[in-house]
Symmetry: C2
Subunit: 374 residues, 2 copies
């Protein structure tokens, strides 16, 4: 990797990251499905759709290159061309990512100089420094790695769940040393995305710049199930780090919906609870308010039976057709003392489950989002 | 109407309202589509489904009769029977509504006594006092009336958009003196509900107890289009009063999506902007942050073209494929000085439009919702 400076961040810290792969590697990328996409996303999606392998990618932080019209796409292309020229690789094997403020033109000359600086000082991948370079409002760098027999899996990320929408975005890059062909990688990538980055929420908002990629370095042969499990572990760790970084967040909330009749039902109900402002503020207030959880659970298009469901907080039964007020003190203690708050709903109708991660919401959320000005 | 006290509210103010109609009147009611419904909702929905006319309704505030199991339904039935007995009408012509705390049994003996007190002192309908009696955390009573030729239309409501979910709910009752048959009333009721109470949001949460009814007093013959227009006006006024009462709200936000290719598209995009926490906190911070509006507009399942849309705040163009920073100061002034903030998106693709009302979100929202404890 190489690091450069284009002066895009107020802190004037490094804001250009180039990751050069040793050879063209099988890679799968997913991008935000927000229709108001950044120029870099439009450009890179076009490339990723045509190519199964990439040789490098470049990330700039501090400016999202979004809402910048045709010029934004042109600037993304110029960034790819600059990397391709300096690394002597085809420009169709270079992806471009941006994160930062929306609606401001990239100072493209400075960005191209920053890329040059990065490409002239290539060094081994350092997950922590890579995360720091692509970070904007993050409170801490996000990275994870796992080994299992001959398998090595690692990744880095940035983001705080679009908490600071004009300065944030979720970007994650995960690598496996295993050899995986494109179609197999794509399929596991889609499953992992749904269970990890698409199952976290801070404020329910979709960024204009989100992207998540998995790259196969193709160094070892391995069982695909093991590869997927390792990739999922690393991706989930990165996703949880993003939730924990929600500005003003004091708790990670794990919402599990169990014994549902279909997976989509479990997921939608888990999402409704995880995104409920009222549940989030209750957790911030350390209040085991099962009424809010019940109301959120009942608010999706999927019917629930108020007489059949069970609601647990921290493993303590609070409702099963009638209130269990005797368990409120224990649930309150869980909310006060444990870093990760567990909310579980048993629907008692089938065998599917889904877990969603969220964070609580406090004064600092409002403060940060109200006081940030364009 | 009659007013009684069952001691359900901390303030010990009146909490039982009985509205006795002069004869059985054509009435249409809609209830929350939350599946975690209160006992009163389950009971009244059953009645309203079978009957085209009602003779009376009773509302208790301070206790939602929700999460209370089979007992909750039994208590609602007992309330209807008490009204029927005292007013000498069939119990199948009495509807029951509750609003207040979730998960606590109704002290039914005191409620039945409160109903007796109310039925013994019937007096003409007083919209302000009716609203006060059914209110919980409301900061002000909500009522509206309109006259047009021989048409009289009036209504009262309570609610602050499920801001305080264990103590709130939206209830609205609107009356027309016009004669309207059930099917016609039902159809206009459904249209009005979509354009008014279903197009407001404070925190995107659905209450377990919401209900909205329209009652035709059948006193005068009138053109149905005029009747509907008057009913819509009064209903919209009540809906906007609820938005303005959002705890901690300092501004009403009017989100209009125009020139859409379908109505549902206009509506979903308006809803996405109106419910976006990031837009709400930006308004609280008086920040004309069009990037947040664009990101919310792009987040639905309906495609938008970033190069074709226009974004206005207070009528000032801020984006039309590229930023118009020259208008930011004027938009900021609008946010600072006007009570109702106007956000408008032109999609430039068709002729449909939808308007959604919302409120901003500030420190007091978090404070009230975090500090309220069960």
């Amino acid at each position: 990797m190489g690091i450069g400076k284009a002066g895009l961040k107020e802190s004037k810290s490094p804001d250009i990251l180039v990751v050069a792969l040793p050879y063209p590697c099988v890679a799968s990328f997913v991008f935000t499905d927000n229709y108001f996409k950044a120029g870099s996303v439009i450009y890179s999606e076009g490339i990723a759709r045509e190519r199964e392998r990439i040789s490098a990618f470049v990330v700039n932080s501090g400016n999202a290159n979004c809402g910048t019209g045709e010029e934004g796409i042109k600037h993304a292309k110029m960034m790819a061309e600059q990397v391709a020229k300096l690394l002597d690789i085809p420009k169709e094997e270079v992806l471009v990512f941006s994160t930062g403020i929306i609606g401001k033109s990239l100072p493209i000359e400075r960005v191209l100089e920053g890329i040059e600086e990065a490409c002239q000082n290539l060094q081994p991948l350092d997950l922590k420094r890579a995360s720091e370079t692509i970070s904007t409002t993050d409170r801490f760098p996000k990275y994870s790695f796992a080994t299992f027999d001959n398998l090595e899996t690692f990744g880095f990320a940035k983001g705080a769940g679009m908490i600071h929408p004009s300065m944030a975005t979720m970007l994650a890059f995960v690598f496996t040393n295993a050899k995986v062909d494109y179609l197999a990688l794509r399929r596991m990538h889609e499953r992992i995305t749904e269970r990890t980055f698409n199952s976290i929420t801070v404020d329910g908002c979709k960024s204009t710049n989100d992207a998540f990629g998995i790259i196969s370095l193709g160094e070892v042969e391995a069982d695909l199930q093991a590869v997927e499990l390792e990739l999922q572990k690393v991706s989930e760790s990165l996703a949880k780090q993003i939730v924990a970084d929600g500005e003003g967040a004091t708790k990670v909330i794990k919402v599990s919906v169990r014994s549902a009749i279909t997976e989509v039902k479990a997921r939608e109900i888990a999402k409704a609870i995880a995104t409920s402002l009222l549940v989030k503020t209750a957790v911030f207030g350390r209040d085991p308010n099962w009424g809010r959880i019940a109301a959120a659970a009942g608010s999706t298009i999927f019917p629930i039976d108020p007489f059949k469901i069970e609601i647990y907080v921290g493993g303590y039964l609070l409702y099963d057709g009638k209130p269990h007020d005797e368990n409120l003190p224990k649930a309150k203690k869980h909310l006060e003392e444990d870093k990760e708050v567990e909310i579980t709903i048993e629907l008692n109708e089938g065998e599917y489950e889904w877990t969603y991660y969220s964070s609580d919401i406090g004064y600092d959320y409002v403060k940060l989002n109200a006081e940030y000005t364009t």
